[in-house]
Amino acid sequence: MERYQISGRQFFFIIFAAVVSLIIFSLPTQLIPEVKQDLWLSMVIGVLIDIYVAYILYWLGRKYAGQSLVQYSRTVLGPIGKVFGLIFVLFFFLVILSTMWLFCKFLSTALLPKAPAMLFSITMTLVVSWAAYLGLESIARMTQIISVIILIASLLLILFSIQELRLDYLLPQLENGVAPAIKAAKYPASWFGICIVMGMLMPHLINPKQALKLKVSAVLLGALVMTVTFLCSLALLGPYLASRIDFPIYYFSRTLRVTFFERIDVLMLLIYISGAFITFSALYFAASEGAAQLFGSRSHRGWVLGSSIIVVAVPLLPASNNASFAALYFDKLFPLLGLLIEGGFTTLIFAVALIRHYVERGK
């Protein structure tokens, strides 16, 4: 196994990009029709759940220093832990496949309607697997540049929309009480949960003591940027339109106009594509390194090359052209599965590790 070293700032930006970019188009399509103006509450709950998971991963990462999520689930749970490790790796892989599918779908409907969806999966997989092949340090160094661009672009987008906003569109707040917002929190919570990638990155962090602080502040910043962008799009398009159109955030960016510049949506695509690149490569690295640790391979590189073939073929998978299956999957199955693995499995490992900790102490 190679040892990579990433700094705190690099870690921060990887998490930030993972929160902001990949889901900026898919999350509002799920969230806005259900909760409209109350989406901020769902986002807050999602962040709270994610902070809880971050604390667990931090505790485990400190207790089993130098081990990754896949490795310490084996240490804590014994042979059954291997199954858990496998599930985590498969889950990372599933997230890559799902988000790659969303990525292809978005670009082929919004940007280049005539191009085949495979074009996007091929080009993206090519650069992503190259980055993952080179290892975490190369990913981290690129993240430092790209994430700053993402941050600036999203602030510009918010800034450009300010003069057109109609804040009364954000009323009434909580018209049906807090229940719908709590229920819909499963979407942000499950998507933010892909930050369990933190468990795979933590052993590479130069100073793991900072991990919790960095992770929480990155998620807070990312969620804040996203929530403000979502609320801006609601306040510009109005809840009626925003809840009835696919990709409301992209539509929002297309209605912006800065003096004589139109088509500000380029900024949005900049955020999305560059952020998707970072997140894909981090996930890709986590999945292949996890697989390598699980099966005792010497390097993660073989796994990168092997899995890229499947990722490229995402648009061709039998289920991917079935709109009703996609809706069922993204609205019901994925949030459920995500919460189960990100929240449930980690809690289980944490509980067992805690018991072991006290038993060992008692001896």
């Binding site: 009364d168 398009l237 088509r263």
Partner: protein, 391 residues
């Protein structure tokens, strides 16, 4: 040691700037596209055709090189194609066969809808604009009193592409008229609490020349055009939307002859507050106006408090009566909620709105609206309105 660290940071910063400036080179010409391959759509026109069909007109910009760049400057600035079909998509097919080139929609300036079609109802056709990602959400929606094809063919404007001129007109802050953009228009066609309107293009014959004027506003009830607001009404309607660009108010004082006093409204703040009383909804509309005096009559001494108060009171009364008149006209006569009262109720009393929404139009006609105006005269121009001491 410290200086070395500082230098390193500066060097890093410079390198970063140099790298970022490379991005400018990467883009080539701003928004470069090979215009020979593309035909940009300037305007989309929809009009009624017999047998419940629609006539679609598409105005394409004819790309022309400037004379300096070797162009001849002789070609027609635009091409117009029309086709009939039962849906926009079907008619679009017919146009594709005529135009042959690929049509580029994301820069469409206006969507023009013929009055006859608007009266028939446009709900069935708007689905196209909801679905097609290539349509421009910020194209302006206009209603033409003339047939759309004639309008697009004949209109004589300063700019070669008339659609450009019309859109510039709305962007200009000095013009009183306003219209909705596609992304505002589409959802409002389907909402009862906040219904759609659009500026009208009216042909006026002047010295045997057809001039198109934009001064009226077409009012929609659901997806059907139900009536027009005339030019003075449009101005008051704009006040209610909290917009006052270039709004001029004039009236004459009773004891000062017929010469009018002219004000320009600089700033309008409108607050529409619903109140639920004994299960009945009421609205109070508070309007706060900052006005500047543009022309006065001689005997008025504006430096005196009483004259100033008198003018402000007159102005308030004038605005109040015209606002009350327009609300009565829109709510009762046209019976369409283009002002957005229903939306305000939804925002303040969401539970009441759920019950009221199905029969909102009837309730709108019955609803009591209380108008209060406060006006302040903030500027009176360069002239010193003082009695001179030597007189």
């Amino acid at each position: 040691m410290l200086a070395g660290k500082f230098n390193r940071h500066v060097a890093l910063g410079l390198k970063g700037i140099a790298l970022l400036s490379l991005l400018l080179l990467a883009s080539g010409c701003w928004g470069q596209r090979n215009i020979a391959q593309l035909t940009v759509v300037a305007a989309i026109g929809l009009d009624a055709a017999p047998d419940n069909q629609i006539e679609l007109s598409i105005q394409l910009v004819n790309p022309k090189l400037s004379v300096a760049a070797g162009g001849s400057g002789q070609r027609r600035p635009f091409a117009l194609y029309t086709a009939v079909g039962s849906t926009i998509y079907e008619a679009m097919d017919g146009i594709r066969k005529q135009a042959k080139k690929e049509m580029f929609f994301p820069q469409t300036r206006t969507i023009i809808i013929g009055e006859t079609l608007a009266k028939r109802g446009i709900g069935d056709y708007m689905d196209f604009f909801w679905r097609d990602m290539q349509q421009n959400p910020i194209s302006s929606v206009l209603i033409s009193r003339l047939s759309v094809r004639e309008l697009l063919q004949q209109s004589q404007e300063l700019v070669e592409i008339p659609a450009d001129e019309w859109v510039e007109f709305f962007r200009n802050r000095e013009n009183p008229a306003d219209t909705l953009e596609m992304y505002e228009f589409l959802p409002r066609l389907e909402q009862v609490g906040y219904q759609a309107f659009a500026a009208g293009l009216t042909p006026k014959s002047k010295e045997e020349k057809e001039i198109v004027t934009i001064d009226e506003v077409a009012v929609f009830k659901k997806d059907k055009l139900v009536g027009w607001l005339s030019e003075p009404e449009v101005q008051v309607f704009e006040w209610l939307r909290g917009d006052s660009k270039g709004s001029v108010v004039k009236f004459s004082l009773e004891d000062q002859g017929t010469k009018p006093i002219v004000f320009e409204l600089e700033m309008i703040r409108v607050r529409k507050a619903p109140r639920l009383r004994n299960g009945q909804i009421e609205f109070s509309v508070d309007i706060h106006v900052d006005a500047s005096l543009k022309s006065s009559v001689k005997p008025l001494d504006l430096s005196s408090v009483s004259a100033n108060d008198l003018l402000e009171k007159e102005l308030e009364e004038h605005i109040q009566s015209s606002v009350e008149r327009i609300i009565a006209r829109i709510n009762q006569e046209l019976n369409s909620d283009i002002i957005g009262f229903g939306q305000r109720i939804y925002q303040t009393y969401p539970h009441y709105w759920k019950e009221a929404e199905p029969q909102w139009n009837e309730e709108l006609a019955r609803m009591n609206v209380d108008v209060n105006v406060t006006a302040h005269i903030i500027k009176a121009g360069l002239r010193l309105d003082k009695k001179y001491h030597d007189q």
